[in-house]
Structure formats: structure tokens, C-alpha cells
């Protein structure tokens, strides 16, 4: 792993070779918001050529954490991680964008971005049988799934049991991985959440996660922060291996509706999981999903990541709209994705399109 200084220096010398892949750069059309521009600004602030003030620091927040620039970089330069390092610096120096500071403050109230008691909500929605403790495997839905797609959590639990996985629902008080704090740059509080979560996770041999962003945060970011744990983490789609005959799609999907699958950045580019969701759709509905023009490793981001909707709402909105336009060009009538964050984002920006979580395809 390159140090922030090495990483920014390398970008500063590069002829902007990953700019084409960055959705923020494509939307803003400004050199400053290309990965090169963002990293260069950080480098110039380290060199004393630019002050590290609100203006400079705001560029560190112009990143979706979608891994597109990393995917395009043959030098494996960790652009998002480096920019998040500068977010932490900005947050500590109180020069982060005001909207981010406010957001992080609100997060603290319930340790999740929705300002509600997630545990209470989860208990009211899910069958009690899954709250039986003392299993070695747990299902961790993540806060977005609990808030917006509780049905997905129920489906996941039923399907995993059908796959002969003896598991329980993760029921510790904090049901958020802390990613929003990490993206805000509030490393101090993020560490606290990570510590509590790791303590709880260590009881399990395996944890199956509903949200790719949670999975990436727990399995990669926690480790990058220096935490060590032996628990193995998987996305739910990696664990569901069911013969198609035992899957029953929703009645309206049996009419042969065309489904387009959107690759979440944190499942696809970050972990290389491209085929299992497509296989699941085929198994669940009997039809191959339609592909977006940019898909798999080249998939465009939905615009939800990196707290961009909080720091740069207009840019984030445009990025989502671009992806929705791309969806419309596929000719499909249902947009399916394996990330509750992506699904939530699409629904929020265009309520008219039919968006479904992967597991919600089943009746």
C-alpha cells in the first residue's frame, strides 16, 4: 500500500489516464475534480503551494469511492483510500464541507445515518426464529437494508437456511458498519464503531453481509485501520446456491419482464463478484438479465457512494440520472441490483422506475 504522499505524487506526474473512468470528472467537467486534480491538489497542499483550507479539502470529498479510477490505473494507485486519508485530515481540522460536519453530527445520535433505532425496527419486522443466538454464522443486513429493504433481510435468512446454512441474525446494538463516518472523515468515531462491531463479530466463524458497502468496510477498511480478526465475511449472493426449481419468482416477473442488472461498485470492482448475481437472476426468473452498456468492471456508479450526495448533491444527482438513462436504453423494465444503497439511490432519484433488490425477485 502506497503512502498518501507516494500516491498523490504518482497521480501528480500522471497524464490523467483514469479521468475517463471517473463519474465525478465526467459530470463536473473540471480538471480539479478529475482523480488527477483531486490528488494533485492534496499534493500541492502538502508542498505548501496550496493552503489546506475548505476549498482544497472539498476536493477530497468529490469522490464516490467507486473504485473506477483504481480499476483504470495500471499502477494500482489507491485514489479513494488516499482521498479518504485527506478527508480525515479535513474533518480533524474542521475544514470539511459544512454539510458533511452536520451529517456526521446527526449520525452520532443513533450510530446510523437514519436517526432511528434500527434494532427495534428489525425486531418488529423479522420472525423471532432467526434471533436464536449461539450460532457460528450470522447474517448482517446493514443499516440501509434494514431501513429500506427489510423484506430482503427476511428473504436472505430463509434462502440461506434453505442452503443448509445454520445461521442467526446479527442482533448486536449497532447495526451499521460505520461507513458514513469513514466517508465523512470522522475516523475517531468510525474506529469506535469498528471496535464494537469487531468485538461482536468475533463470536462468529462467518458473517454473511447484505450490503456490499458494509462488506467492503468491514472486511477491507477495518483491516486497513489495523484491526485483526479471523472471522470470514461474504456477500449473501456468494452463499446462495440453490437449484432453480426451489426458487419462485414474483408473479409479475413470470410474465417475462426484462431485467437489467446493475453492478454495485463495492461488489464488482472492489471484490470481483460479477457472475453470481447474474446466475441468481437467471435461476430465480428463468431469464438472463439484460446488460447495461457499461457493465461489470466498466460499470458506471449509481452516484450513492463516498457521501457525494451529501457533499455535492447536484453532481451525485447527475451521475444517478446518467445511470438511469443508461438503464432506460437497455429496454428493460426492472432494474435489479445487489446493493441496498444503489437500489435506494435509484428509487430516490427516479421513483417511476421499478427497482428491486436481488433477493426481492422471489415471492
Amino acid at each position: 500500500m502506497k503512502s498518501p504522499d507516494q500516491a498523490t505524487s504518482l497521480c501528480h506526474s500522471c497524464p490523467k489516464l483514469c479521468r475517463y473512468a471517473c463519474p465525478v470528472a465526467e459530470t463536473d467537467q473540471n480538471e480539479a475534480t478529475t482523480p488527477w486534480g483531486k490528488m494533485s491538489a492534496m499534493k500541492l497542499s502538502e508542498n505548501g503551494i496550496l493552503p489546506f483550507n475548505r476549498e482544497t479539502a472539498s476536493l477530497a470529498y468529490k469522490c464516490l469511492d467507486c473504485k473506477a479510477s483504481e480499476g483504470a490505473c495500471e499502477l494500482d494507485n489507491p485514489v479513494p483510500e488516499t482521498l479518504f486519508h485527506y478527508r480525515a485530515k479535513a474533518f480533524a481540522a474542521k475544514v470539511a464541507p459544512p454539510s458533511i460536519l452536520t451529517y456526521a453530527e446527526q449520525f452520532q445520535k443513533f450510530s446510523n445515518p437514519f436517526g432511528i433505532d434500527l434494532q427495534k425496527k428489525m425486531k418488529s419486522l423479522l420472525p423471532r426464529e432467526f434471533s436464536t443466538p449461539l450460532k457460528k454464522i450470522a447474517y448482517f443486513p446493514g443499516c440501509s437494508e434494514i431501513q429500506h429493504f427489510p423484506k430482503s433481510t427476511a428473504h436472505a435468512l430463509v434462502l440461506l437456511r434453505k442452503c443448509r446454512i445454520d445461521l442467526e441474525l446479527f442482533h448486536e446494538p449497532i447495526l451499521c458498519c460505520g461507513y458514513p463516518l469513514y466517508a465523512a472523515g470522522d475516523i475517531e468515531n468510525f474506529r469506535e464503531i469498528a471496535e464494537i462491531n469487531i468485538h461482536a463479530f468475533q463470536k462468529y466463524r462467518e458473517v454473511i453481509v447484505g450490503s456490499p458497502t458494509c462488506l467492503q468496510t468491514i472486511d477491507v477498511t477495518y483491516r486497513q485501520l489495523g484491526f485483526r480478526f479471523s472471522t470470514r465475511f461474504y456477500h449473501v449472493v456468494e452463499k446462495i446456491k440453490i437449484p432453480p426449481t426451489s426458487l419462485h419468482p414474483l408473479p409479475e416477473l413470470r410474465a417475462g419482464q426484462r431485467i437489467a442488472y446493475h453492478d454495485p461498485c463495492h461488489l464488482g470492482r472492489a471484490r470481483g463478484i460479477y457472475d453470481p448475481p447474474r446466475q441468481f437472476i437467471k435461476a430465480a426468473t428463468g431469464v438472463e438479465p439484460v446488460e447495461f452498456f457499461t457493465n461489470r468492471a466498466n460499470s458506471s456508479c449509481c452516484g450513492a457512494g463516498g457521501l457525494l450526495p451529501i457533499s455535492s448533491p447536484d453532481t451525485a444527482r447527475q451521475i444517478t440520472m446518467n445511470r438511469i438513462e443508461e438503464f432506460k436504453r437497455t429496454g428493460a423494465s426492472v432494474l435489479v441490483t445487489a446493493s441496498p444503497e444503489c437500489a435506494c439511490r435509484f428509487k430516490a432519484i427516479d421513483p417511476k422506475i421499478k427497482v428491486m433488490g436481488l433477493l426481492d425477485l422471489l415471492s
Binding site: 501528480h12 500522471c14 497524464p15 490523467k16 467537467q29 473540471n30 480538471e31 491538489a41 496550496l50
Partner: protein, 514 residues
């Protein structure tokens, strides 16, 4: 800069499309000329623009130019900022006009006159890769694949007379453009089909393409496009000597065969390319291994630096050792037709004692064809100086040009070369120079010497100093030597179109004596 200018432009474009803040100014101060990066590493501070603005229509570009003229301020058109010749450096500050918000692929039409073909009308601010993807989505291709496709705009291509890797089939950018729309230095808009008042007998594209923003700003272009090729074939061919390989390329091009790509690597470049396609996986493992042991990584770096201190040894060794030269050849089009073309090309190569390596090297090249650009930042970060020098000559002068440049530079830096963009009349040579002196200041000095020597050797051999990277600031002092009397004509056009010299001043040798 007066605040009234900022106010005027804000009234015109809105405050969000005008910037004078230090961050934006610092990030618009240079393009990707190696010299600029070396200057920064040596602690030299570049020129800063005074203001950056983002127009969205041709009319807005025209109004910005008129405002700049009124206030006697330079304007510099800016695309992706990926140029390598200093073409967008704001030498006297001024207004950077970033055209990237003009990035639409507007229409695609079939045209039957003078022959049936397809034409796309495109705004000049679109990024090459985005344009290609949009065309591909509709089943077409521009056929233009420069190494800068990932980071350059159509306007940049046109401004610098760019050449793509498949130029042997699709032509250079100046052959692809049918017509353009532009804003002249006094703010006049030349529409599609229009003429520049002072030169009614000349198509505007003949004046503006390759003028690097010194004579006007290209805002839209009508480009010839092609349905995507149904089939493609690529392969590698090994030759025992550079001379016989060059004769084979010349024959291929002069017998009327149309490869989409034909690239010949000299002995040293071939070795690196071959190492690349034979050791793809090993390289990954090696990288991982080295990253685990930083000491080994620095040992490797030190050894590399030590080699660079005696570049002539490596070059002498290669001249003595039995090394081979690798030719990459590819064809695109109808499957039967390209199979036949490939067969004929192979026949010509075999006459020169060549070994067919099959498709593996060709496919490797195709997969990694933009990778070479990533080597540059990597080497710059290893405290080397590095650059590419693309020159060209007719076939009868080509080898003398190749030898001449290498002879001049061999004591100072490692010189690799490949021959690409072949025509029936001649070919371009793409030199890569890598050196190391031990200090940032000395690197910069050495880099400048390398360019002086390379340009001198090119002119002495009767070559042209630029095939497709443009002139900009980097090669400005040698342009007059190459053009001779034609430079006076170029200066006269500049004087007539831009009497106050506000349009990208200080570039292309237009202000130099003689």
C-alpha cells in the same frame, strides 16, 4: 486581472462557470509535457492562468473571446490538458477556456456525396474514450485510438493533428475531419460550411487543424465515422534486423495492403515488449513480492539508476548481440478480406527472413496498447527524466534519422524506438528517452539538452520534428527551420487573424524572429 472582467464573464456564464480561486488556477497551470513535471519537481513554479471558464455553447465561446479581446487578455483553449508539448501553458496568464462542457455527440448521418459514408457531428470538448464508447453503443467507430484516448478531447486531437494507433487504416485526425465550426481570435464564428473572410478560397479546417489554438478555437467538428469492423486479426512477426523489417513495412504499404496497425519495435523495445507478453503473470507475482520487501524494490531501483548512468553500454551491447525486432501487424474489416490481406503481408515479410510468432504478441499488444503511458509517471517518480519524441521521414531518410537521433543521445539517456504510422511515402519514429542524473535540476537540464540534440539530429537527417504530438512550446524554436518560407506564411495568417496576439500566445514559434 481586473475584477470587472470576472464580473462580465459571470454575467455571461453564471458564477458557477467562472473560477479565479487558487485551487483551480493551480490545476490549470500546465499540461502533461514532461518538462513541466520536471520543472515542478525542481521547485520551479509554473505560470498560472488568471481565470478559468466553462462555456457550454459556441456563442458563449465567441462572447468570452470578444471580452478577452476588449480587455487585451490572452485566451487559451483547454481540452483534457493531456498534451505533451506545452500547448496549453498559460505563459502570460489570461483566460483558460475549458471546452469540456461542450461534449455532445450530436448527430450521426449517412452521406452519399461524393461516396456513401457516415458522418458524426460532435462538440470538441468530448473525451476520446467517451466519444468512442458512444459511437460503439450505436455500432460505429471513429477509428482514432491514440495513447491519449483516455485523457484527450476531440478538440485536442484536431488542434495537434493527432494520430491514432490504427492510422494506417483510418488515417490521421486531419483526414477524418470533413468540416468544422470555430471561433476566430476576434470572436467571429465560422459555422459549418462557412469560410474565413480573409481566406475564402481555403476550407477553414485546412487553416485551423494543427494550429493548436493559435488561430482559433474549434468548437464542433463533422467527423467521418465507420461501422464497427466485423473482424480483426493481429499477429507478431520477428525479424533479424531492423533494416529488413523496415523494407518489409515499406513493401506492404506500397503494394496497397491496408493493415489497421503496423508497428515495428527496435531491438531494445522488442525485448521489453516480449518480456511483457511472456511474463504477464510472473510480473504480477514479482510486483507483489517486491512490495512485501521494500529493500529489494529499492535495490532494483538503484540498479536501474546505475544502468541509466551508462546508457551507451546497453545500446552497444544490443548492437553486438543477436537481437530480434518485433513487428505487430493487424487488420480490421471483412473476415475473408483481412485473411487474404494478412496472408499477402506475411508473404512479404517471409521474403525478408521473418518468423511468424502467431497471434499472441499481437493480442497482447492490443490488450496493453495504452499501458505504455503508465510507465511515464512511474519513471518520473523514480527520479528519472523521461519523454517521447515522435518524428517522421520519407522511407529513404528513415534509417538515417533513426541512427542520427540515437547517436546524438546515446551517452545521455537510454533510447528505445518503435516505428508506427506507416504510409506509402514514409513512416514515423517514436523514440522513448529515459535518463537519470541524480538531481531534479540536473534532470531538467539534461532533458532540455536531449530535446535540443534530438531536434537538431532530426532536421539534419531531413525529417519532420513532429508527427502527431504538436509543436506547442516544446518544439517552437525548431519549427521555422523545418518550414522555411512557409513559416512566414503562417506568421502572416496569425497577424491577419489575431492582430493583437491574444490567442494562445507564445506557442508554435510564431513570436520568434526570422
Amino acid at each position: 486581472m481586473k475584477s470587472s472582467i470576472k464580473k462580465t464573464l459571470e454575467n455571461l456564464l453564471g458564477p458557477s462557470r467562472v473560477a479565479v480561486d487558487p485551487v483551480n488556477r493551480a490545476l490549470y497551470c500546465r499540461d502533461m509535457m514532461s518538462g513541466s513535471t520536471l520543472e515542478m519537481k525542481a521547485g520551479l513554479h509554473p505560470h498560472l492562468p488568471d481565470l478559468i471558464c466553462w462555456p457550454e455553447t459556441t456563442e458563449e465561446v465567441s462572447k468570452i473571446v470578444r471580452t478577452a479581446n476588449h480587455h487585451k487578455i490572452p485566451v487559451i483553449p483547454f481540452g483534457g490538458g493531456s498534451g505533451v508539448s506545452g500547448g496549453t501553458l498559460p505563459l502570460r496568464g489570461g483566460i483558460m477556456i475549458d471546452l469540456k462542457r461542450m461534449a455532445s455527440l450530436e448527430t450521426i448521418k449517412r452521406v452519399d456525396d461524393p461516396y456513401p459514408h457516415y458522418v458524426a457531428t460532435i462538440q470538441s470538448g468530448i473525451l476520446g474514450e467517451h466519444l468512442e464508447r458512444k459511437l460503439n453503443e450505436r455500432g460505429y467507430t471513429l477509428g482514432h485510438f491514440p495513447s491519449s484516448i483516455l485523457c484527450a478531447t476531440l478538440g485536442g486531437y484536431l488542434a495537434a493533428r493527432s494520430a491514432g494507433q490504427l492510422s494506417s487504416r483510418y488515417g490521421k485526425i486531419e483526414e477524418m475531419v470533413e468540416d468544422l465550426e470555430a471561433v476566430l481570435p476576434l470572436g467571429t464564428i465560422v459555422p459549418f460550411g462557412g469560410r474565413i473572410k480573409k481566406y475564402p478560397e481555403v476550407a477553414p479546417k485546412e487553416i485551423l487543424v494543427g494550429s493548436e489554438g493559435t488561430l482559433g478555437i474549434i468548437t464542433r467538428a463533422r467527423m467521418r465515422i465507420h461501422p464497427m469492423a466485423p473482424a480483426a486479426r493481429y499477429r507478431g512477426i520477428s525479424f533479424n534486423s531492423l533494416s529488413s523489417a523496415l523494407r518489409a513495412i515499406r513493401n506492404i504499404m506500397q503494394t496497397g495492403l491496408r493493415p489497421s496497425v503496423i508497428r515495428l519495435y527496435d531491438e531494445l523495445d522488442s525485448l521489453l515488449l516480449k518480456y511483457g507478453y511472456e511474463a504477464d503473470d510472473r510480473k504480477k507475482t514479482g510486483k507483489k513480492f517486491l512490495s512485501e520487501f521494500p529493500y529489494l524494490s529499492s535495490l532494483k531501483e538503484n540498479a536501474f539508476h546505475a544502468l541509466l548512468h551508462h546508457p551507451d553500454w546497453i545500446q552497444t551491447l544490443f548492437q553486438l548481440a543477436p537481437a530480434e525486432c518485433l513487428l505487430i501487424i493487424g487488420f480490421e474489416g471483412d473476415a475473408d478480406f483481412i485473411r487474404h490481406q494478412e496472408k499477402e503481408a506475411l508473404k512479404i515479410c517471409k521474403e525478408r527472413i521473418a518468423r511468424d510468432l502467431g497471434e499472441k504478441p499481437g493480442l497482447h499488444w492490443l490488450k496493453k496498447r495504452y499501458s505504455v503511458s503508465f510507465k511515464m509517471p512511474d519513471l518520473l517518480e523514480k527520479d528519472c527524466f523521461v519523454d517521447t519524441i515522435e518524428v517522421a521521414a520519407t522511407w529513404d531518410r528513415l534509417e538515417a534519422l533513426y541512427e542520427g537521433v540515437r547517436r546524438e543521445l546515446k551517452k545521455q539517456c537510454l533510447v528505445l524506438a518503435h516505428f508506427s504510422h506507416a504510409y506509402s511515402e514514409g513512416c514515423s519514429i517514436y523514440f522513448t528517452v529515459i535518463g537519470h542524473t541524480g538531481s531534479a535540476r540536473k534532470n531538467l537540464e539534461s532533458y532540455r539538452q536531449v530535446w535540443r540534440k534530438a531536434m537538431g539530429a532530426t532536421l539534419a537527417a531531413g525529417g519532420t520534428i513532429s508527427h502527431h504530438h504538436g509543436i506547442g512550446l516544446l518544439k517552437a524554436e525548431w519549427l521555422a527551420q523545418e518550414l522555411g518560407g512557409a513559416m512566414r506564411f503562417f506568421k502572416r495568417i496569425k497577424k491577419e487573424l489575431d492582430p493583437h496576439n491574444f490567442m494562445n500566445p507564445g506557442k508554435m514559434g510564431l513570436e520568434m524572429m526570422g
